[in-house]
């Protein structure tokens, strides 16, 4: 029953509600992504916008087509498909063929979210599932990076490759800071990493911007601040120890923190509330695991960048972490919850 002017409200608890619900949370993250998209437009021009647009379109179309049949499109309103599509687009190289970005959006929502039962049921971060699929399907195209500063209207011919066809190889390519470090032992100056005028994925290059956005999101309590802190401190400490032991071979911890997709993945993907543990201790473990894996893959793995696989691996470990580290229910004394389960 709905009264227009109730004199007396008769209701049961809860009386106080926090205004944050899922669409609200998604809107905050989308708002935080806006400066990243603007910066990407400035660095990489229209090509980057088209790639992000194509992956978002793929994500939204899949969410619409495979959503609940009675009320088609109703799940679009929470904004999570939009967010996954934009996040996926921001992790791709700017000269990526648009049809591949579209396919990535389809896989991200289809295999990353909907087959698990929709939002809140997925084990892995949808955007990263899409990217991992693209990385496995098109390994050379996804590691071909375009340089910056070719003018806003510049489109590489790779962007416009016909569906199912190869990207032509005549694009000018550049190496990312991590690629330079790994294969040529060349360090990019820290200043350029902070500003973001180095080649890389569309949304990951400007560290200073990402730090500011991260602080804003943490202040708004959009995500659990423990996750970024755990990841970044682990990477800094692990890389720092290696750097102190042998500064010739290993890069400085500051380089490790500000290069590649570490900040972007940490702020926008590792903090996904669906795929990260619930209890504070579990969250710390989750973050430390990601940090250790990132350093291991970057320094000793075959690929220059390992943030994606590190987050996906710890996503897979999240149900285990949640099972082992359960918060003690109030009033249960010092009993272990697992013991209680066994009985």
């Amino acid at each position: 029953m709905k009264h227009t002017a109730p004199g007396l409200v008769l209701r049961t608890a809860p009386f106080l509600k926090h205004p944050t619900d899922t669409p609200n949370l998604m809107r905050q993250v989308l708002l935080a992504l806006l400066p990243v998209v603007v910066a990407a437009a400035a660095f990489f021009g229209m090509a980057a916008m088209l790639v992000v647009g194509a992956s978002t379109l793929g994500a939204l179309a899949t969410e619409y087509a495979f959503g609940p049949s009675r009320n088609r499109g109703s799940t679009l309103h929470d904004g999570s498909a939009l967010l996954s599509g934009i996040l996926l687009g921001l992790t791709l190289p700017p000269s990526f063929p648009l049809w591949m970005a579209f396919l990535g959006g389809i896989v991200a929502i289809g295999l990353g979210k909907l087959v698990w039962g929709g939002l809140g049921q997925n084990l892995f971060n949808p955007a990263l599932v899409g990217r991992a699929f693209l990385q496995a399907a098109f390994p050379t195209t996804i590691t071909t990076w375009a340089p910056q500063g070719q003018g806003f209207l510049h489109l590489s011919s790779a962007n416009l490759a016909a569906p199912l066809m190869q990207a032509r190889v005549d694009t000018i390519t550049a190496a990312t800071p991590l690629g330079l470090m790994k294969f040529q032992h060349e360090l990019t100056p820290l200043w350029s990493l902070l500003v973001g005028n180095s080649p890389g994925s569309i949304g990951e290059t400007s560290s200073a911007l990402l730090i500011v956005l991260g602080l804003w999101l943490a202040w708004r309590r959009t995500f659990d601040w423990r996750i970024p802190v755990a990841i970044l401190v682990t990477v800094a400490v692990f890389a720092g120890i290696l750097w102190i032991v042998n500064p010739e071979t290993y890069p400085s911890p500051l380089f490790m923190l500000f290069s590649g997709g570490l900040l972007f993945g940490t702020l926008f993907m590792a903090t996904d509330p669906v795929t990260s543990p619930m209890a504070p201790l579990g969250v710390w473990l989750f973050g430390v695991g990601i940090g250790v894996l990132v350093v291991l893959i970057r320094l000793w793995g075959g690929l220059p960048e390992g943030v994606m696989y590190a987050i996906l691996l710890m996503n897979a470990a999240t149900p285990l972490i949640d099972r082992v580290i359960q918060p003690r229910p109030f009033g249960r004394g010092k009993h272990n919850v697992l013991e209680g389960d066994a009985r």
């Binding site: 063929p97 591949m100 087959v115 399907a137 098109f138 016909a162 066809m165 990207a167």
Partner: protein, 236 residues
Amino acid sequence: MPSIPASSPGGGSGSQGSGVADGDWERVQAEFMKGIWKENPVFVQVLGMCPMLAVTNSAVNAMAMGAATFFVLVGSSFLVSLLRNFIPRQVRISTYIVIIATFVTVADFTLQALLPDIHRELGAFISLIVVNCLILGRQEAFASKNTVKHAVADAVGMAGGFAIALLCLGSVREILGSGSLFGVSLFGSGYEPWVIMILPPGGFIMLGLILLFFNWLKSRRAHWLQSLDKLGEGAR
């Protein structure tokens, strides 16, 4: 020797070769068809996943595997059904394995002699047909309890269903993973192959999607039949 009573719901254990009743031919057909669709070993029973995922990176490999499995399954079902009254219960599994292994060895050597390239591609998976749960399952669940005629019909249906599923997966994976079908290029030289599709993850993803598709098809069919029934009731 304690012999198991032949529990054949159709005719008696000695009916094979003698006169065929009218209802019997229908049953043979039913045993054959159930393997193709209603109890398809892959889409419904989800059996034999090891060869299903391992050798379906091209349509030719899938077809060779399907043919080898067909030969082994039909041959061993025939022999097991023929010998079902002489196989002691206690050692039946090992007897089935010996019979299956015999046919696998024949298939292995035949492939090696006639199609050495495909034999090299399939590698150990030809020998591994011995432990394919689909084949052992058919011996234990069907051939050892039924007459030769029905056992062979069942084996042909099951092996046919298995081969169809292998060919489905192999074709899709070859089209996406290398842009060709049976080695014939479909999209010209500019095709960008989806490398993941010829790797194991692509096999898992594609198999999952095909299972999803068939389950969807089945539920649609059930739904459709239900609405037909309702329509019929309304007309009455």
